[in-house]
Amino acid sequence: MIDTALLGQLLPAFGAAALRTVLLTLTGLAGGLVVGFAFHALRETGWRAARWLYTAYTAVWRGVPFLIHLFIVYFGLPSAGLSLDPFAAAGLTLAVYGGAYFAEIFRACWQSIPRGQIEAARCMGLSSRQIFATIECPQALRASLPLIASQTILLMKESALASVITYPELTMTAGKVVSEQFVYVEPYLLLALSYWGLSLLVNRAAGTLRAWAALRETPRP
């Protein structure tokens, strides 16, 4: 049977750990969006070197497990002179890892904009920068929202690996309770529920954001 009293006892620790998971995920999300957008913009310039760099970045970072990236950054870099603390290492790795996915999401969404609109805008004399800002960005970003939401959930699940480099987030907290109090069901139940709940929250937030964006896009008569 599930010990509900124990569940109650564990809630504060899990709450604090959940906040750390959220913090780590948000860091990865924010950093990833910036890095991903930067690489996407770089690719859009059309320069050969930029495209090559983009391909190398997305291929390498999406082709290797997050765990290995994390180990290279946290355990490997000190021998090259860069020693980061667990949060910095996990946050940075999540950002660069997420960035590779976000870059691809941006690329796909940019491509989905009808060429006709851009040609028409060019005919009307709009500069490349204006086209980018007023025509491409709003539509592409709105289209990218559901994909960004699911990628955020994936980042949140990868953040569980920060426990291996001692960052005290949700997974580590559950593991501690398991090994110190010899109870298995309650901590892992809470762990699953915590992540499940957070993922539902992300989806809800994304839905709200989409509705708000859709409202803004509605042409005014």
Binding site: P78, V164, S179
Partner: protein
């Protein structure tokens, strides 16, 4: 509505079923197989070499299991944090990994007589001249393994230092000791709390990087093997316990200790000692 009912159904899958009874030793003999849980990241007690689990523990286990020649060993190497819980959920029949004898664990599980000394001490970087005494960790960062008794000893010691008015120790918890040693070498930690038995071997192989501070930071403790604390497992635990005691009497235990540690250890094998922590 259906969705919520379905979620409740999933949650009920977490409920543990009732345990069923059978003399574990007999079961093992009949099945001709024993499922063993080990954490093979604990040199020289049990560690991986070329994909095989080797060390003091495996050697001793093979010695004892020579009395059950038809029984095959299925040994699972899992992180330490899953060892005792895995035993509790019957994933393993028995645990052959160095588990420190503590009061909480003795309450919930059945220990064999000790196989080695587990008293906790600190290891530091060899070139760290500033750290000369365990009390010097006050205000610094120290690591140990999550869920281990060595971590508990470190936490208790840190509390003691704090009670004496010294600055607080930052404690980091690692999944395995190997990663803690790596961070010590990288400069993220000033020390790692681990049993003296393990540390002796560490400096034998990596004496260029690490140095032990031999003063213990916790009470005298012992490593033992563990079985479930129920009537079914009692014969199995006794089997291993008797095997260890026999190895002690015949001198084979000391032989293995010399082979794997380079020094013999005084361990009581007439009975499971009273845990000091």
């Amino acid at each position: 509505m259906l969705f919520h009912r379905a979620i409740a159904g999933v949650l009920s899958l977490f409920l543990l079923g009732a345990a069923h009874g059978a003399d574990m030793l007999e079961t093992v003999k009949n099945k001709k197989e024993i499922v063993i849980g080990t954490e093979a990241q604990f040199a020289p007690f049990e560690y991986l070499q070329d994909g095989k689990i080797v060390g003091y523990g495996p050697d001793l286990m093979r010695l004892i299991l020579a009395d059950l020649p038809e029984v095959k060993v299925k040994q699972f190497d899992v992180p330490f944090q899953g060892i005792l819980p895995g035993l509790a959920t019957r994933r393993f029949d028995f645990v052959v990994t160095s588990v420190t004898l503590t009061r909480e664990r003795a309450d919930k599980f059945a220990f064999t007589v000790p196989i080695a000394d587990a008293t906790t001490a600190l290891v530091k970087r060899k070139d760290d001249a500033a750290l000369t005494d365990p009390a010097g960790i006050a205000g610094k960062t120290v690591g140990s393994q999550a869920g281990s008794a060595q971590l508990r000893a470190l936490q208790d010691y840190a509390k003691k230092l704090q009670a004496e008015g010294k600055p607080a120790v930052t404690i980091r918890e690692y999944v395995s000791f190997d990663e803690a040693y790596a961070d010590l070498a990288a400069g993220r930690l000033v020390a790692v709390a681990q049993s003296l038995s393990n540390l002796a071997t560490l400096v034998k192989t990596r004496g260029d990087i690490y140095a032990v501070m031999p003063a213990p930071i916790g009470p005298k403790t012992y490593f033992g093997w563990v079985g479930r604390k129920d009537a079914d497992s009692a014969p199995l635990v006794k089997f291993f316990s008797d095997g260890i005691a026999r190895a002690q009497k015949s001198g084979q235990l000391k032989e293995l200790q010399m082979k794997w540690f380079g020094f013999p250890m005084d361990v009581p094998t007439d009975a499971v000692p009273v845990p000091q922590m």
